[in-house]
């Protein structure tokens, strides 16, 4: 952490780009245009709306316009002034864009990523590479068409992202790889097996500020390159074994989106609407509700396009999750950055045996600045086999037969069903039925291989896995009702996210056992954990040896 050679350039095997040399670099020249994309579209739209008639005339040859701004200028003889003003405005825009591009620089050293931006109000963001929580490569639709991508380096905390927006698409891919290499603490050559030759041949490393890869090629080449990029899957070829990738058939994806709580709500609203109309209420209810119903189609559309072409794979630098049809995003989660995992199954999915996997990471911006690039879902919908594959990626050390049995029992099992079989879980006693009449027999917990498991829920089945090395604390509590029933409740504290690791009913004596195990387990596995610099060779920790 505090090495004296903090700014020294690390010896890397083969940096794909020259951007990690610790010098300041510029972003893609079109950055201001792409960043101000919406603004530009608005201005163009405004101009077109104002000169609509004239434009129609230009193409149709009918003169039926009067009194638009151009006429007014012409009649008052101010054409010269108008042209001058236009020129000045254009010049100012160009100068501002150029300045903002000039002042927007970034650098990557062996320890940090730093971004400086702003002309008048300078801002400076730095992220420590050994604290990187994830690297996201996002390609929103419009920049994607121009062959640009946004690289986000997520660090812990609210709104703690360092953004490199925008970079050339290819360059962003390579820079992501280099940043992950640096973050992994790798200081010696990695075997070249995971470097595919295919990319190396076509693209020489790009140097310096001229980051637009196709800036000086012919227009046809440009279009072809754009098209190739558009077609190419988000998952780049330095991903790991293809068999570990989960595929979601489009039918299942559509089904999973349709079979959601939102649909139920929509159906209820529709029935209510029909009833109210039949009952003879005035038409305004229809007018008020109908736009909402139509808008919900947009919701389905965006949900489906967002998750289409979902892919997940293990790479040497962590789990890579990609998704998106129009605007794509690809997220790399380095090892040991997952704080909690939830495998859940809403009741509507049970018939099909579908499951969803979501996670808590420290890099998730909770609340307002929720860029769609960071997603907490690492499997939108999948079968049991898919869930097993994803869990294997997320928790690599958690894949013995016992662990698999634990997961399977956690998803499907319960106290009653497995009356004779070893269930592995410590379940809530039968008297918990007073508080959890339906789900008491599924409410249980287990600890294995440095991971705490919580099984709960019957209407929506949940299994929660918390790596003890990431757990922030444990709490047990008891109110008067639970005291009468000799029960208690327990919570494992994790970073904020969609997963809440809480166990609502547990035997009181067992709660104390859980408390001891979790608190000692948290300390021990944190000591044994070296995943903050996951590739730096270190003596294998005793717990890892024990697990094997």
């Amino acid at each position: 952490m505090s090495e004296p050679v903090a700014s020294a350039r690390p010896v890397l095997a083969a940096p794909r780009t020259d951007l990690t040399d610790g010098e300041w670099h510029h972003l893609h020249p079109a950055t201001p245009l792409l960043r101000g994309g919406i603004f530009m579209v608005a201005i163009i739209g405004f101009i077109i709306a104002n000169l609509r008639e004239r434009l129609i005339d230009l193409f149709m040859g009918e003169e039926n316009y009067r009194g638009d701004p151009i006429d007014a200028i012409y009649e008052r003889g101010a054409t010269g002034w108008a042209l001058l003003i236009l020129a000045v405005v254009l010049l100012v825009i160009i100068v501002v864009f150029y300045l903002s591009w000039l002042m927007h620089t970034f650098r990557v050293t062996g320890e940090i990523v730093e971004v400086r931006s702003g002309v008048v109000f300078r801002s400076n963001r730095k992220a420590r590479l050994d604290r990187v929580q994830g690297v996201n490569l996002a390609r929103p639709l419009i920049p994607r068409m121009f062959g640009a991508a946004r690289l986000e380096i997520a660090v812990a905390g609210q709104d703690g992202n360092v953004q490199l927006a925008y970079l050339g698409s290819k360059l962003a891919d390579d820079l992501r790889r280099d940043i992950l290499h640096l973050a992994s603490g790798l200081r010696q050559a990695r075997p070249p097996a995971d470097v595919p030759g295919l990319q190396e041949a076509t693209a020489p490393p790009l140097i310096g500020p001229a980051t637009a890869p196709t800036a000086h090629s012919a227009l046809g080449d440009f279009a072809a390159a754009r098209y190739r990029e558009f077609r190419a899957p988000e998952l780049d070829p330095d991903a790991a074994p293809p068999e570990s990738i989960v595929r979601i058939p489009p039918g299942r994806l559509v089904g999973s989106v349709v079979l959601s709580g939102f649909t139920v709500f929509l159906l209820l609203a529709g029935i209510g609407l029909i009833v109210s109309v039949i009952a003879g209420s005035s038409g305004w209810v229809l007018v008020a509700v109908l736009p909402g119903l139509i808008g919900s189609v947009g919701y389905y559309f965006s949900r489906i396009t967002k998750t289409l072409r979902f892919s997940i794979a293990g790479t040497p630098d962590g789990v890579r999750v990609g998704f998106g049809l129009l605007s794509t995003s690809s997220q790399t989660l380095p090892p040991g950055r997952i704080h909690a995992i939830k495998v859940s199954q809403p009741i509507l999915w049970r018939r099909f045996g579908w499951w969803r996997v979501s996670i808590n990471t420290a890099g998730q911006a909770s609340g307002r600045s929720s860029t769609p690039a960071t997603s907490s879902t690492i499997l939108p919908v999948g079968t049991l086999a898919d869930v097993e594959k994803v869990l294997q990626l997320a928790l690599p050390a958690f894949d013995t037969d016992t662990h698999r049995a634990l997961v399977e029992n956690g998803l499907l099992g319960g106290r009653r069903r497995n009356a004779g079989v070893a269930d592995f879980y410590s379940n809530a006693p039968a008297r918990a039925a007073w508080l959890r009449p339906f789900s008491w027999w599924r409410t249980g917990w287990a600890v294995s291989g440095q991971v705490a498991l919580i099984r709960r829920g019957v209407i929506s089945r949940d299994l929660i896995l918390v790596p003890l090395a990431r757990m922030q604390g444990v709490r047990i509590s008891q109110g008067p009702v639970r005291r009468r029933l000799r029960l208690a409740s327990a919570d494992l504290h994790t970073v904020s996210g969609p997963v809440a690791a809480s166990l609502s009913v547990i035997d009181v004596d067992e709660a104390l056992v859980l408390f001891e195990w979790m608190s000692t387990g948290a300390v021990r596995s944190a000591l044994a954990d070296t995943s903050h610099q996951w590739s730096r060779a270190e003596t294998p920790s005793p717990t890892q040896e024990a697990a094997e």
Binding site: D130, R131, Q133, A156, A362, S366, T402, L406, A422, D423, F424, Y425, S426, N427, A446, V447, S448, G449, A469, Q472, G473, V474, R475, I476, S477, Q478, G479, P480, R483, R484, R486, A488, D491, H493, T494, V495, S496, G497, D507, V508, D509, E510, A511, L512, V513, F515, E516, W517, M518, S519, T520, G521, A522, V523, R524, A526, L527, D529, H532
Partner: protein, 184 residues
């Protein structure tokens, strides 16, 4: 400290003590050790807080009741008054129930009688320590110490420490956390 087994078997449940007529229903950490308690003067802070709260709510309610003739406000005010008085009676016991304990690798915290809770936070998970002083606490020379982790729920907050104790505890906790730092 118990060994972490490969999988906790269902038989790992501790035996229920049959020699006792009524098995203990309360949460109690048996071999935790001697709990450190907060300053008894902290009762005063809690009492003043409860009274201020009660006065504000009851005042508002009685205004509503007298001026707007809203009868429900009377009952709301009465309920708040009764709850506050009960609270005041139990205040000393509740403050006595607050305790903390510095174990080898983690900080234990407990509070509550009717609603009990125990929290354990490993020192290595510390992000920062906050010391705050309210007006009454400052007058009594007390301070609140908050142990903040990366978790969404606040880590541990120990109220009513003597100021010197709070600062000593802060330094001790920072020192312990430094030696057991875990990356996030």
């Amino acid at each position: 400290m118990p060994e972490l087994p490969e999988v906790n078997p269902p038989a790992a449940r501790p035996p229920v003590r049959h020699d006792v007529a009524e098995p203990a229903a309360r949460l109690e950490l048996a071999e935790a050790g001697e709990w450190m308690r907060v300053s008894p003067k902290y009762v005063l802070v809690e009492i003043v807080g409860t009274i201020v709260n009660a006065v504000v709510v009851c005042g508002g309610a009685s205004l509503l009741w007298l001026l707007l003739d809203a009868t429900w406000a009377f009952w709301v005010g009465l309920a708040v008054l009764v709850v506050s008085i009960i609270n005041l009676v139990f205040e000393p016991r509740r403050v006595r129930s607050i305790g903390y304990l510095l174990r080898e690798d983690d900080l234990l915290f407990r509070r509550g009688i009717l609603f009990q809770r125990f929290v354990a936070v490993p020192y290595g998970r510390m992000q920062l320590i906050d010391i705050t002083r309210g007006p009454i606490a400052r007058w009594l020379g007390l301070a609140d110490l908050k142990f903040v982790t990366a978790a969404a729920t606040a880590g541990v907050s120990i109220p009513g420490l003597a100021e010197a104790d709070a600062e000593g505890l802060r330094d001790r906790l920072v020192e312990l956390a430094e030696s057991r730092r875990a990356g996030l």
